[in-house]
Symmetry: C2
Subunit: 270 residues, 2 copies
């Protein structure tokens, strides 16, 4: 894996079979699984390889691939008979990014903070309680950097941002507990301690994770509101804990201020 900050590991592929069963449009479930598999693979794949990996019937797999190729979501090399992701996915992603003003407005703020503190900054969007996705990133460019990529996914409740999502989301404790128990930390907090941290997060308006998710790495996260209800975005700072030192206070202030300003621009209530 080329991702220094680990994202969730690929789920057991045999889940595809179960998902297909319940769906009223199984072809789409299969198509999505194929797209994800092709994305995961670092080389183009043939029909058989795809079908075997996902537990699909080869002929069905072929028809799905042809339909995807027709839509330019998948490329087909007529010589090698191999399939790969095609640039069409990029077009969709561009439209998605354009649809949400957060993605445009967050970037300059992230750039400035990354520059000022020499850190990696992220803009993150929560997708329900399942996970969050990195939608914007800025790096200072100097020295070592912790890096992740736009589009990377993480469990929704992990680390500092997870505390923000939980703290301001107004979810029942039982629901949080169920999700919490599935998280994997380097230094897992006890659920009671974590709940106490949520209260603190609510009180101070931001969350901090000092080496619990990843040893030695400090993460600071502040929620961004777009309207009433629960926040779906957050600004995140990631740095080596030891290197941050006494700058941590200033970073927290700057992050909260930026998140507040952004909430204002997006028309979000407090």
């Amino acid at each position: 894996m080329s991702n220094p900050i680990r994202a969730r590991s690929p789920s057991p592929v045999r889940k595809v079979a179960a998902a297909v069963k319940d769906s009223k449009a199984p072809a789409i479930t299969r198509a999505a699984a194929i797209l994800r598999l092709l994305g995961r693979s670092d080389r183009p794949l043939g029909v058989q390889a795809i079908a075997k990996e996902l537990g699909l019937v080869p002929s069905t797999c072929l028809y799905v691939l042809r339909a995807l190729a027709e839509e330019e979501l998948v490329s087909f090399d007529a010589d090698t008979k191999r399939y790969a992701l095609e640039a069409g996915v990029l077009t969709l992603a561009r439209h998605w990014l354009r649809r949400d003003p957060f993605n445009d407005l967050a970037q300059p703020l992230l750039d400035r903070l990354a520059q000022r503190f020499g850190l990696t900054m992220l803009g993150v969007q929560a997708v329900g309680l399942d996970h969050m996705i990195v939608v914007a990133m800025a790096q200072s460019g100097s020295g070592f950097q912790l890096s992740t990529q736009i589009g990377s996914r993480f469990p929704a409740l992990i680390s500092a941002t997870g505390r923000c999502i939980a703290a301001f989301g107004d979810y029942p404790e039982a629901v949080l507990k169920a999700r919490f128990d599935q998280l994997r930390w380097d230094d897992p907090p006890a659920f009671e301690d974590w709940m106490a941290q949520l209260r603190q997060t609510r009180a101070q308006g931001f969350a901090v994770d000092e080496g619990q998710y990843i040893a030695g790495v400090t993460v600071v996260s502040a929620p961004v509101w777009k309207g009433a209800g629960r926040p779906v975005h957050a600004l995140v700072a990631i740095g080596i804990g030891a290197a941050l030192g006494r700058e941590l206070g200033a970073l927290q202030d700057a992050l909260v201020e930026a998140a507040g300003a952004l909430s204002g621009q997006l028309g979000g209530g407090a």
Copy 2:
């Protein structure tokens, strides 16, 4: 439209019906059409609106949307019953970008050239003879800029890059003619002149478009090879023709040099 450099206009939506007929996996055709429609729309849409726009049966449309939502390619607001693109498309795009070293390697070159000449620079990938897609972009940041966005699509044979694709693609003249006739330029060249320009492009290793595609805008494009065969990528410079003036020569040299260096890194033949 928020795109100063015009991309192809959305195709007649009634084509969906025809495409669905011929496919062995019509659900996927429908799903792709829905995703594109949602991308095009600047607001979330309801089931009926989507179905009507694409000529689909509402119930079928609902099932497709549910499947897409299950795959997190589409978001569903339970309160308003509206659907929109979801962040999952971004995850796919990230994987696509990572798969091709061109996307990583081109960026620093584009940055440098954009800075040096104060222009907008693009990395472009051809998708057959249908169109090309912007996969990387750099802007100088100072003054007025012609802008487009990553993921934008253009007809494959248009402008300077189109000449590169045609010149080095080794396509039959009849095929080129058919595509050429569908292009829309501000100042369309005659086919014979265009063919002559292709010969010149082959000879000098790059192509120039001085106000033909868009009046007043000069485009310079140099092909990038990844292996043997036809080039699929190109580096592109876009600037106001009048402002370029005598820098054009230096720009051409720098662009060709960068494209050559990139071809070398990618293991492309001459």
